[in-house]
């Protein structure tokens, strides 16, 4: 519960932060809201030699419309997101993260860069087919959500790069839902399901996306369910049938509260509920 010794800097610019990270090498970590990294450090599961705090970097806490979609600064806090109903499922999921104290400090950039499959926003970004912008000393690049999450706590963000923005495409026309199953309100998701449904004029399913929290070492898309539903009717029976395929191919990690089988069962139930809500069925 007491961290190992570390150095700390809080540069006033992005370039300053990038320099500090580069100088710190592999033992340096960027610090955003701190609600993932600091607990790991207190348990001594992580022991970075240098923390580069981004708090003084200007311009990273913002929510702006862009090309019909959204550009959200990396240091935007969960509490900022939850207050913005126009962010749709992002706001809905953000409101379910941990407790209000955590939401007041935790950031979207920190959560995505940490790459914990039990966190809520990675699955939401994956379902939204969003992207992140990262800056390194070599320049800026964009990483699609589908390429971002590589493994447990491992992302495509290279050492020395800093996530600066999150990009979310236009949400108009999509119904949405985030179903999160926990023992206590403040817990990590045992399983979470993000569902997005776009109805065609005739009421059938024009498009659908389903993504899971905590069903594997990364957030996952439920492709079998999506395929089963896409182009077909959105009645309760079709949704129920499609949801039955939700857990196909998943190998969720078992833990104290849930075996892999139980998690797969929860994924099916929650997928059905999320789809019904997103489809307005």
């Amino acid at each position: 519960m007491i961290t190992a010794e570390f150095d700390y800097v809080a540069p006033g610019s992005l370039d300053g932060a990038l320099h500090a990270l580069a100088d710190g090498g592999e033992d340096a970590k960027a610090l955003a809201g701190g609600h993932s990294l600091l607990p790991l450090m207190k348990l001594r599961f992580a022991a970075p030699a240098l923390l580069v705090d981004l708090r003084n970097v200007p311009g990273l806490r913002s929510i702006e419309q862009e090309n019909g979609g959204w550009r959200i600064g990396a240091l935007t806090r969960h509490a900022d997101l939850q207050a913005r109903e126009d962010l749709g499922v992002v706001a809905q999921a953000a409101a379910l993260i941990a407790d209000q104290q955590v939401r007041n400090r935790g950031t979207i950039g920190g959560s995505l860069a940490h790459g914990d499959p039990a966190s809520d926003l990675p699955a939401v970004l994956l379902a939204l087919e969003g992207a992140v912008t990262v800056r390194g000393r070599a320049g800026t690049r964009e990483i699609a959500a589908s390429d971002l999450f590589e493994d447990y706590l491992t992302t495509a963000i290279a050492a020395g790069e800093i996530l600066t923005d999150v990009r979310i495409p236009a949400l108009a026309g999509w119904g949405h839902a985030y179903e999160k199953f926990t023992r206590r309100a403040e817990d990590w998701a045992m399983v979470g399901v993000c569902a997005l449904v776009r109805r065609a004029d005739d009421g059938t399913c024009a498009d659908v996306r389903v993504a899971f929290t905590n069903m594997g070492s990364t957030p996952l898309r439920a492709t079998a369910t999506e395929q089963a539903l896409r182009g077909g009717p959105l009645d309760a029976e079709s949704i129920g049938r499609a949801a039955e395929q939700a857990a196909e191919g998943t190998e969720p990690p078992a833990d104290l509260n849930a075996t892999a089988d139980y998690k797969r069962h929860l994924a099916r139930v929650l997928t059905r509920r999320a789809l019904q809500q997103a489809a307005g069925t």
């Binding site: 007491i2 199953f181 817990d187 509260n257």
Partner: protein
């Protein structure tokens, strides 16, 4: 004297009122002082090196790298404690019963028996530096076979944790009355159930902590403890320091729930280190330390047999208790299941009762008293089994209860306990009135048609508290090596206000308020003029501290008696001054006045002036106005009540939600009804925690799986319903206040109400029994099992 006059204007009538807690402003505004807030000049911080092995011989300890780090003052291991006078004394020595007590030292000597056992301590001037240094201590272990399951530990061939005993059995003893074998033989139905009451933690928000100072041959220990007075005795024994040279202070204590009814190794260790180094030494537990090494509770397997006639008449109850004690004892652990046996037969008129208890060593941390301490286990098994039996008999579960309620009081039970007073029908009647059972049943049926599963469960509990009568508990009774009286001193100051010293050690109960109310009424004061002093062995008489819902029923009675002694003396002074007879003086409206002549009166301030400037006292009377009382009760007290819990179960996921909680408790006349409600709320939350969320889990290697609040799931406000509470008031004949304890009642009552409720909800699906905790997966699995 104007301030005093203003203060005394309240007069009598404070007992029974919902006064706000005097403690709250400092607690709410963060101005209270906990051990962690205290630091003396030159304080050394202690970090403890703990065993990662559950069962192993220590083959070597190399602390050289740690000792060489900058700022490290000293490193000590178990070998260095050779001058310590005694290991942790376990105070339960029941006559005629063999109890195995292994030597439990603050630092392990030679071997370890649980993960987290302390093997070395590092002292240094920087509280972070000592934690880094602790990581540099290299301890080599020779791992031994581990046994974590108490039944496996009793099997022949199991690894024996303490070789000197040749067995993992800690003790075996029985409490019984009536012929249970005959009672079960003549029963039409014998219900048999195995009920597992799992291990839990106290989980106080303030972890443990202690700071010691050794100065001029005297020791002061500040500790986050419920028992400063007992701690002084035990420190004296363990350290070999004469008792009068030791002062123990419990500053603000942020929750105990029994987990600080203890003298832990670290408390003794910092005291020993302070003497050794001559510098103040402070240790504060992290949450991880606390989960690993603050004693756990429960962890019983109860094999229950209950006999009944076809018409529901109960004939007998026999319970075999297996108590997992962990690998070492602290001060009293093995006695805890004895409290299970006291109320094993609940509120019911069983003619024959028998409890056979076996304690077992396992490679886990010690179990000891956690809120309820043995009685939650009893209530859980009897109240769950009453529902199970009703099912078996095809009877209504409430009708079965009512048919067998004890109705005559005082009532001596077959196993020798005398229930003092009660009205079990009364609390159940009121509970049902608040619930509206008929409306619930019709709603329940209607909702089931729509696939919504709701249930209601009841718990009509009785419990034993107010520890306790020394003759029953003491060396010749159960064998506790101590008395269980309580002390109080009521000191009127020269200006007429009061300092009231209690031997109890409140840590959240609100006794500074309720005790002030008791004193105020007896002395014609406002409670604001009564300062309740506690938690410091250098003030007031020797006390017996706070646990077992004893503070009011024993400590409050002592306060009342001391205040009445003061009142008696004051009356004699007033009578002398006003030329009346002492028996004609009454305390009313803030004054001592002559009955029938209210204009002839003196205030306590006037009396204090006479007492402390003794120019005209009655012949032979000593100066001063300061009285002590030691009250040793003649019986325990027996609170009771009826709780109802309405749940809804999501049968697709197994998730349980509590929709309503109705609690009707009877703890005698209220001193402060708001404090009772607070205790009931907190107590029930504790029970909800055990029933739905909390469980200490060790894996098969003896590693603690639930080592933080991420995995050890204490419920939060979001999981808790709004409580509907009420009370009935049945006086206890045991004490003059008529009061019973209420600090543990909610916890003792709660768990079976939830389990019975969930079983009621799932009955149409064929689920007939569930063990706690009712996690979503466990409930879902039970539904699947029932469907097969």
């Amino acid at each position: 004297m104007s301030v005093t006059e203003e203060r005394t204007s309240g007069g009598n009538g404070f007992v029974g009122r919902r006064l706000k807690r005097k403690e709250d402003p400092r607690l709410i505004t963060g101005r209270a002082t906990y051990v962690e807030d205290l630091t003396l000049p030159g304080t050394l911080y202690a970090a403890v090196v703990r065993s990662p092995e559950a069962h192993a011989r220590i083959t070597s300890i190399d602390a050289s790298a740690a000792a060489e780090r900058a700022g490290i003052e000293a490193v000590f291991t178990g070998e260095d404690l050779a001058d310590m006078a005694a290991p942790c004394p376990m105070v339960w020595v029941p006559p005629g019963v063999e109890v195995h007590v292994p030597e439990h030292w603050p630092l392990a000597r030679g071997k370890v028996g649980y993960v987290g056992q302390a093997v070395a301590v590092i002292l240094g001037g920087d509280k972070y530096g000592v934690v880094d240094a602790a990581e540099d201590v290299v301890v080599e272990y020779d791992a031994l076979p581990v046994v974590v399951d108490p039944e496996a530990a009793l099997e022949p061939g199991a690894p024996v944790i303490h070789e000197q005993f040749g067995t993992n059995k800690v003790f075996e003893w029985s409490l019984a009355g009536g012929d249970v074998d005959a009672a079960l033989a003549e029963a039409d139905v014998v219900l048999e159930r195995r009920i597992v009451n799992h291990r839990t933690a106290g989980a106080a928000i303030e972890p443990r902590g202690a700071m010691a100072e050794w100065r001029e041959g005297r020791l002061t220990l500040w500790s986050s403890t419920q028992i400063p007075h007992i701690a002084r005795v035990i420190l004296s024994i363990q350290l070999g320091i004469s008792e009068e040279k030791i002062r123990v202070v419990a500053p603000e204590v942020g929750g105990g729930f029994g987990s600080k009814l203890q003298v832990y190794g670290e408390e003794v260790l910092v005291a020993w280190c302070a003497r050794k180094t001559g510098k103040p030494v402070k240790w504060t537990a992290t949450r991880s330390d606390d989960m690993l090494t603050t004693h756990h509770g429960r962890d019983q397997i109860d094999d229950v047999r209950i006999g009944a006639k076809r018409d529901g008449t109960l004939t007998g109850i026999h319970v075999k208790v297996i108590q997992d004690c962990g690998s070492y004892h602290l001060i009293e652990g093995p006695v805890i299941p004895t409290f299970t046996s006291c109320v094993i037969s609940g509120a019911y008129d069983f003619p024959a009762v028998r409890t056979d208890i076996v304690g077992v060593f396992t490679n886990k941390f010690t179990t000891d008293a956690i809120r309820g301490a043995g009685r939650p286990e009893a209530t859980h098994l009897i109240e769950v089994c009453m529902d199970q039996l009703a099912d078996e008999l095809g009877m209504d579960a409430l009708e079965l209860r009512r048919k067998n309620f004890i109705t005559e009081f005082p009532n001596e039970r077959p196993h020798g306990f005398v229930y003092d007073s009660g009205n079990y029908h009364g609390t159940l009647d009121r509970c049902l009135e608040m619930l509206d059972l008929e409306a619930f049943r019709s709603e329940q049926a209607e909702l089931r048609q729509r696939g919504v599963y709701r249930g209601v469960g009841f718990s009509t509990y009785v419990e034993i508290c107010g520890l306790g009568p020394s003759r029953a508990l003491g060396p010749d009774g159960w064998g506790m090596q101590g008395g269980y009286f309580e002390s109080a001193q009521v000191r009127v100051l020269p200006t007429g206000t009061v300092m009231a010293y209690t031997g109890t050690s409140p840590h959240g109960q609100g006794l500074e308020t309720s005790f002030a109310q008791i004193v105020a009424d007896r002395l014609g004061l406002d409670p604001e003029a009564v300062e309740v002093i506690h938690g410091d062995t250098n003030t007031g008489p020797f006390g017996k501290d706070t646990y077992g819902s004893r503070s009011l029923a024993v400590g409050g009675e002592a306060i009342a008696r001391a205040a009445e002694k003061v009142q008696d003396k004051a009356k004699r002074i007033v009578a002398h001054k006003l030329e009346a007879a002492p028996e004609d003086i009454e305390v009313a409206e803030g004054a001592f006045r002559v009955k029938g002549s209210p204009d002839k009166s003196l205030t306590l301030a006037d009396v204090a002036t006479e007492a402390y400037i003794p120019g005209d006292l009655p012949e032979g009377m000593e100066a001063g106005l300061d009285e002590i009382s030691f009250y040793d009760p003649t019986n325990f007290v027996w609170p009771f009540g009826a709780h109802a819990c309405v749940t809804e179960v999501d049968v697709e996921t197994g998730r349980v939600e509590i929709l309503r909680w109705i609690a009707v408790d009877d703890c005698g006349p209220a001193i402060n009804p708001m404090l009772i409600e607070g205790q009931v709320h907190g107590g029930v939350v504790h029970g909800i925690g055990q029933a739905l969320f909390e469980q200490i889990v060790y894996d098969e290697h003896g590693q603690l799986v639930t080592g933080s609040f991420v995995d050890y799931a204490v419920p939060t406000a979001a999981e808790i319903p709004s409580f509907e509470t009420d009370r009935t008031e049945t006086r206890s004949p045991t004490n003059s206040l008529g009061v019973k304890g209420v600090g543990e009642a909610g916890t003792i009552a709660a768990t079976p109400a939830i389990v019975n409720s969930v079983i009621d909800a799932l009955r149409p699906l064929g689920v007939t029994y569930l063990d706690m905790p009712l996690t979503p997966m466990r409930v879902w699995n039970a539904i699947q099992e029932a469907r097969r």
